[in-house]
């Protein structure tokens, strides 16, 4: 028992994808699991929250926190994990940058409630639930505004290989060193650095499978995105949407950089480009709105409103 590394795995508001990606190391589970002394993992073992609360501070070697802190309970669990774990890993892009759940910050929380509970195609006059459910925070603040992390492991989800590498490194007590390249570095497509005459939507035409998608006019976030995924989408025909967040230093503004690159490739008339890029906020900041400059201004605005 003594050689084992104690771990706790916790989820905030998330999709489970990061933990699924961990399970997807498949037979290597047989290598990793015996090294672990699982202290908390609601997904696969019958622990209750009291178990976690009862452990002494800093008594767990490694903690993983998946998801965003959407509810008061998520926030509580996030802080609890920080107290109990020596090394706390921000696991996945939701946890690192707010991720997809962070897009809720585009709207006021009341507008969110309207669509979800009060009125839509199948709901009329519903009320926001209040019994035995934790209150929803008015705005999603990125997890690193609540606690400090020791390691960021971004990706939506992080790949199974990346997770395996990170876990085995950290279990050994070694420092995790990750290559800093962007997705373009791993992309097999040919780049000629030619300006693009026209911006296309992803379903337009049929892309040349061998040439850079951005150069063909399809907006690709590869150059603004950390390549820890090794370019899995771009090498299968799909544009990158930036799900691994910005490359190191990873709190730089990914959306701003994506726009920077697009502007370099497409020096088009302002009206033309504004017309073609229909949803810049939802495209360039899809995974990192909560930690971006625009996102942080929004958070301050919502907080001011709720004071």
């Amino acid at each position: 028992m003594t050689d084992k590394v104690s771990v706790a795995l916790m989820q905030g508001s998330s999709c489970w994808g990061c933990f699924q990606s961990l399970i997807d190391i498949h037979l290597r589970l047989a290598e990793v699991l015996p090294m672990l002394d699982i202290k908390f993992w609601a997904a696969v073992a019958d622990f209750k929250h009291e178990h976690l609360e009862g452990y002494p501070d800093k008594s767990i070697d490694v903690g993983l926190y998946e998801g965003a802190a959407r509810t008061e309970e998520d926030i509580h669990h996030l802080k609890l994990m920080r107290e109990k774990c020596k090394t706390l890993i921000s696991f996945g892009s939701c946890s690192c940058f707010g991720g997809i759940p962070g897009l809720a910050n585009f709207s006021d929380i009341e507008e969110c409630y309207d669509v979800k509970f009060r009125s839509n195609k199948t709901v009329k006059d519903g009320k926001v639930p209040t019994e035995n459910v934790p209150p929803i925070a008015p705005v999603i603040k990125p997890n690193n505004q609540y606690v400090d992390f020791d390691v960021y492991l971004p990706g939506c989800p992080p790949t199974s290989d990346l997770i395996f590498k990170a876990l085995t490194t950290l279990i050994k007590g070694d420092e995790l060193v990750l290559d800093p390249h962007t997705v373009c570095h791993y992309c097999n497509r040919d780049k000629q650095e030619t300006p693009i005459p026209e911006i296309l939507r992803p379903f337009d035409g049929n892309a040349d499978p061998d040439r850079c998608l951005l150069e063909q006019g399809y907006i690709c976030m590869g150059s603004a995105t950390w390549g820890l995924c090794e370019g899995q989408c771009v090498n299968k025909g799909a544009t990158c949407r930036g799900c691994f967040g910005p490359p190191p230093p990873i709190m730089q503004d990914q959306g701003a950089n994506g726009i920077g690159m697009l502007g370099s490739y497409a020096p088009l008339e302002p009206e033309v480009i504004q017309d073609a890029v229909r949803d810049p906020l939802g495209l360039f900041w899809r995974f990192s709105y909560a930690t971006s400059h625009l996102g942080s201004m929004r958070i301050r605005r919502e907080e001011a409103k709720n004071q």
Binding site: A256, I259, L262, S264, Q274, P280, E303
Partner: protein, 147 residues
């Protein structure tokens, strides 16, 4: 908004803080000219010199707003006159997309301004600064956006 503005004004004289990114080859020289020719323009702009507007990432503008600038100005060579051929056209395209994003994020786009001013256009530069300052004064401090 108007009320909040008057309050701030009466408490301690608020003046807009503007960050101005100027291209070394034209607008920075233009700003210089405006100074030496004693052209009057509001003293609110803190000028940051860049080698070409093509060097400007949208992050420069967004970070400035996030850090408390009330307005941001970018001033570069006229289209066709960029010393690196097309740096300003690249910036112009970035600007157009960024402007739309700022609007989507619910921040008033009158806080940002893109203009072209050559080295000899000290007056154009000065007028641009004055115009932005005026716009921003109407909007109040950036903190107003959080209310």
């Amino acid at each position: 908004m108007t009320m909040a503005k008057t309050q701030t004004d009466s408490e301690h004289e608020w003046t807009p803080r503007i960050v101005a990114y100027c291209c070394n080859w034209c607008s920075y020289a233009g700003a210089d000219l405006a100074g030496t020719s004693r052209i009057q323009y509001p003293p609110n702009a803190r000028i940051v010199r860049v080698n070409c507007t093509g060097r400007i990432s949208p992050e420069f503008i967004l970070a400035a707003l996030d850090m408390g600038a009330d307005g941001v100005l970018v001033s570069g060579c006229h289209p066709g006159d960029c010393h690196y051929t097309s740096g300003n056209l690249k910036l112009r395209a970035r600007w157009a997309i960024m402007e739309k994003a700022i609007e989507q994020a619910g921040i008033d786009t009158r806080r940002i301004r893109l203009q072209w001013a050559s080295a000899s256009e000290g007056q154009v530069f000065a007028d641009g600064v004055a115009k932005l300052v005026e716009q921003v004064k109407e909007l109040g401090p950036i903190q107003e956006e959080w209310k």
